[in-house]
Every structure is written in structure tokens, then in C-alpha cells.
């Protein structure tokens, strides 16, 4: 297994898409923080009644979403690019056990995504806190970073879950466009659809969407969002695990009889 891990680690490091995707995530974190700076400067110039009317949502969930999508693409490309070029044959010729290949890819992609998720969500939240500097802005949490930490860690974890979900999807579909459109549907279109469902469907389905899980895992729920909050933390964790593992398991099952 260590051979496969090391090989997959070299592969991930030696394609251009990896640094490009990481750079995009960092750039979007920077853009989010610039937005906070712009808001604070405007806020300070407003009269008290203007300040009372304006609000700024926290940046953590936004960064979580962006990093999740980016890491899902990273995970997806780790397998679909090999199918697209035919290199998957070299991979399976070197490591005939396909479960071992997929497990190694999952470990490498999952680790990169976990670090990326934790660093970007935590970093953005902490810098946002510094920029806001105690101003009583509506929408901003009055809690300290330490108090928000469970939610922040849960969001960072969700980024890794999304990366494994993307890898699993790519392993099932074996095609970049196919996996990418499925991903975009789940990430972007589905929440819009769910938002328009009648109750109680809205609350139920809204609670198992990927974006709803971090809040429920941390026990803070999802106030002011399209997402529901009906799952206890343990159930939210189980749904997260299902997003990460089920597509990978389906791929392993399919690959037992599939040609390459």
C-alpha cells in the first residue's frame, strides 16, 4: 500500500492542474477578504442608522463551498484525467489491484483536501475577525474564533468529504465532463430546487445536502440559509461519511468486471 500511496502522491504533485486549483482557492479566499475590507471601510463611513441597516454574512461557509468544489474537481481529475489519456492502463499494469489504486488516490486526495479545507476556512475566518475588529456588524458572529472552532473544523472536514465524493464520481463515470456536470448539479442546482420544495420536504432534503452538514455536525444548525437543520451531529457525520464512501464503493464494485 505504501508503494501505491507514494506513486499517487508523485502523480498528484506533478500535474499542473494541482497548483492551479490550489491557487484558485487561495485567490478566492483573498477576494472574500477584500470584500470584508471593502464592507468595513463603507460601514465606518455610514451614519448609525445606515450601519444598523447593513449586514455582512460570515465568509467561512462561502470559502467552504468554493474550496469544496475545487477539491472535488481535484479528486475527480485524479482519476478522469487518467481515463482520458489512457494512462489508467499504465496505472493498473503497475498496480493490478484496482481497490488499492483507488484507496491510494483517496488517501492522497483526501489529505490534500483536508489540509486545504482547514487552512482556508480557518484562515479566512480568523482574518475576517481581525478585519471586522469587534464592530457590531449584523450577520457577523459575536463569538470568538475559539468558540466558532467546532463549526470551522466541520467545514474544513466537509471540503475533504467533497474531494472524495468527486474522486468517487470520477471513478464511476470515468469522464471529466460527465463527472463535472453531475458535481455542479449537486453543488449548485440542487440547493435551488430544494429551496423551492414545500415543507416538510424542504427541511428534510435541505438537511442532507452537502452544504447543510457542517453546521449540523457542529451543532450550530443552519440559520438564515436554504439548508435544513433536522439532523443531530452523529447523523450529520454519518451522512458526510456516506457522501465520501458510497461513490467510491460503487466504483470498486463496478471495476471488478469493467474493462479499461
Amino acid at each position: 500500500m505504501s508503494d501505491a500511496l507514494a506513486a499517487e502522491w508523485i502523480k498528484l504533485r506533478t500535474v499542473r492542474s494541482t497548483p492551479v486549483i490550489l491557487a484558485v482557492v487561495l485567490a478566492l479566499c483573498g477576494a472574500a477578504l477584500l470584500l470584508v475590507v471593502y464592507f468595513v471601510v463603507t460601514y465606518d463611513s455610514l451614519p448609525p442608522e445606515g450601519r444598523a441597516r447593513s449586514a455582512l454574512s460570515p465568509m467561512g461557509p462561502l470559502v467552504e463551498m468554493v474550496a469544496s468544489l475545487a477539491m472535488a474537481v481535484l479528486g475527480m481529475l485524479a482519476i478522469t484525467s487518467e481515463h482520458a489519456t489512457g494512462m489508467i492502463r499504465a496505472t493498473y499494469a503497475a498496480i493490478p489491484d484496482r481497490r488499492r489504486v483507488l484507496a491510494a488516490k483517496a488517501a492522497v486526495v483526501g489529505a490534500v483536501a483536508l489540509v486545504t479545507g482547514q487552512v482556508t476556512v480557518l484562515g479566512t475566518a480568523a482574518l475576517e475577525k481581525l478585519i471586522v475588529a469587534g464592530r457590531p456588524i449584523r450577520g457577523q458572529s459575536a463569538q470568538s474564533i475559539a468558540e466558532q472552532l467546532p463549526h470551522i473544523l466541520a467545514m474544513g472536514l466537509m471540503v475533504a468529504v467533497f474531494a472524495l465524493f468527486g474522486l468517487g464520481l470520477g471513478a464511476i463515470l470515468r469522464s471529466t465532463p460527465g463527472a463535472l456536470s453531475t458535481l455542479a448539479g449537486l453543488w449548485y442546482v440542487l440547493p435551488i430546487v430544494v429551496n423551492n420544495l414545500p415543507e416538510p420536504w424542504h427541511e428534510w432534503v435541505g438537511s442532507v445536502l452537502p452544504g447543510a452538514l457542517a453546521g449540523q455536525l457542529a451543532g450550530t444548525g443552519n440559520p438564515n440559509s436554504v439548508y435544513g437543520s433536522s439532523l443531530p451531529p452523529a447523523a450529520a457525520l454519518a451522512v458526510m461519511a456516506a457522501y465520501a464512501v458510497v461513490p467510491l464503493a460503487v466504483a470498486v464494485h463496478l471495476d471488478r468486471r469493467r474493462d479499461t
Partner: protein
């Protein structure tokens, strides 16, 4: 050693390999020959565990490829030189392959030297010519110093220097006692490299023989010209040969070789102007063997088959 037993592979309705059996022994290059679509690449993919056989077995050193833990030490393969990630450098491509089978990094440098890619090791593969990719593919196949090599059309896209390089490389690898299966759709390539030959058409075995036997089997008599042909024909027929008039003039003799014909003619004092053993070229023999099995033959041939 490579052993294919009653192998059948079906893709949907298409039968790519049909109860194919053959063995490839160590110590020489075995050619794997057949028209496009004959099932050569499919057989190789099944041998490497990439495609699942519909029925039958494909074994290397007595076991299925998928049971090997570090297969690159036993089997090296070049299937499609284009099947690499163009964004990766040649060095990185060989590094991950080596690492996946616990092969030392020095071996990578050594092979890049050996295949003549040391100078472009840190260049992206995307910018490589087909010939350079073939060389990279050969390096990848040799990484684990395997005893068995499977090469699918390795000379495609190579310039004459490259073709000669591969031929010499393969012959020297075979001389070291390795088992080498080399596929091609060109008989001329086999004449120069292979000792044994396995010919397939439409997924079925057509011939499993040596190149020499194949040439001998399709020998087409001896052409003899003489100023006293009628008399000579009588002498040769009396000695047990069958004699017919050759379309281009002279006699076609079968049942006696050139030496015996010359001796008989001299014994009877008959002057002989030409004695020539006629062999069909291997290329002709091959075309004849596979004529009915060309998947997309030209119209005329298709008519003839019907």
C-alpha cells in the same frame, strides 16, 4: 513464459478473440501478427489484466497478471505510447511508475540514458514526438528488469534509426533469455526480428510456427531453364518429380531440390541455364494466410470471399 488457453473475449456483439491458444517461450522474440482488428491488442490487454476475459485464461509465468503484487519486476509492457499524461515530465512519469513497484530511482536515470531521453528528462511529455514517446514507453517497460516483455506495435512512428535500435534491443533482450511477444501487422518487421511467429485473424489462431518453417511451407518449387526442356522434363519425371511448364517460360519442378536437379541434368549431359528455388516472400505468405480474415478488406477481396 506466456500462455494463452482457449481465450475468448467478446465486446457486446463483437467477438474480438475466439478460443485462441498459444504459448510464448523464453529466449527469442515471438512475433504476434495479424491484420488490424485481429485481436492482438485485446489479447495483450487481457494478458495484462486490463480487460476481463469472457472465457479461457491468459497466464504469465503460470499465473494471472492480476495476482502479481509488484508486476513490473516480472512483466514489462508497451501498449500505447500515447497513453501518458502530457503535462508530466518524462522523469516524473517514470518516477511514479518506479515508485509504485518499489524500484530504485537510479534505475529511472539509467533507463532514460539507455533509451536516449536523458537530455529531455525534465521536459513535458506533451511536447514529445511519437518516436520519443515510444522510447519513453520502452523505458517504462524495462523499469523492473522484467523477464517477460509485451510490446504492441513498438516500431510505429519510429524513424529508421529508431526501428533499428528497437530491433537490436529486442534481439539482445531475447538473447538474455527473456520472453518477448512483439505484435505487428507488418510481416517484414517480423522477418527481421522474430524467430517464432503466432498469426491471428479475426480472433482465431491461423499459424503458430517458426519464421523458417513458414517460409519452407510456402516454398513453390524450383524453376529450371534449359535448351532441351522436353528431354529434361522426362528425366526429372522419371526421378519422381512433378514438372509443369512455368508461366514465365521454363519448368516448375517440385519434389526435387535444386541440387538433385543439377546433378540429374549433368548426369544426362543436358545443359541448364538457370536453376532457382522459388520461395514466396513471407509477406506474400502472410497475405495469403490472412486474406479471408481481413476485417475491412478492399471490395474485390470481399467479393472473392463471398
Amino acid at each position: 513464459m506466456i500462455e494463452v488457453r482457449e481465450l475468448t473475449k467478446r465486446y457486446g456483439d463483437a467477438l474480438a478473440v475466439d478460443r485462441l491458444s498459444f504459448r510464448v517461450e523464453p529466449g527469442h522474440v515471438t512475433g504476434f501478427l495479424g491484420p488490424n482488428g485481429a485481436g492482438k491488442s485485446t489479447t495483450m490487454r487481457v494478458l495484462l489484466g486490463l480487460d476481463v476475459p469472457t472465457a479461457g485464461q491468459a497466464l504469465i509465468n503460470g499465473r494471472p497478471y492480476t495476482s502479481m503484487r509488484r508486476p513490473l519486476h516480472e512483466v514489462g509492457a508497451l501498449l500505447d505510447a500515447g497513453a501518458v499524461h502530457g503535462g508530466r515530465t518524462a522523469l516524473d512519469h517514470l518516477r511514479w511508475l518506479a515508485r509504485s513497484n518499489g524500484i530504485d530511482r537510479r534505475r529511472v536515470t539509467e533507463l532514460l540514458e539507455r533509451v536516449g531521453l536523458a537530455g529531455v528528462a525534465r521536459k513535458r511529455i506533451g511536447g514529445f514526438s511519437l518516436g520519443m514517446r515510444q522510447r519513453l514507453g520502452i523505458a517504462a517497460a524495462l523499469l523492473g528488469d522484467p523477464g517477460v516483455l509485451l510490446l504492441d506495435e513498438p516500431v510505429n512512428g519510429l524513424d529508421p534509426d529508431g526501428v533499428r535500435w528497437i530491433r537490436e534491443l529486442l534481439r539482445s533482450l531475447a538473447a538474455e533469455g527473456r520472453t518477448i511477444l512483439l505484435s505487428s501487422h507488418l510481416m517484414s518487421e517480423m522477418e527481421l526480428t522474430a524467430e517464432r511467429i503466432v498469426i491471428v485473424g479475426r480472433g482465431r489462431l491461423i499459424a503458430d510456427t517458426t519464421v523458417r518453417e513458414l517460409a519452407a511451407r510456402y516454398q513453390r518449387g524450383v524453376l529450371v531453364r534449359s535448351s532441351r526442356e522436353a528431354e529434361l522434363a522426362g528425366v526429372l519425371t522419371a526421378a519422381g518429380a512433378s514438372v509443369t511448364a512455368a508461366p514465365e517460360g521454363g519448368l516448375t519442378v517440385s519434389g526435387l531440390d535444386a541440387v538433385a536437379i543439377g546433378e540429374l541434368a549433368a548426369g544426362h549431359g543436358i545443359p541448364v541455364h538457370e536453376v532457382r528455388t522459388r520461395t514466396a516472400s513471407l509477406e506474400e505468405t502472410y497475405m495469403e494466410l490472412t486474406a479471408g480474415d481481413v476485417e475491412y478488406g478492399a471490395g474485390r477481396r470481399a467479393e472473392a470471399v463471398r
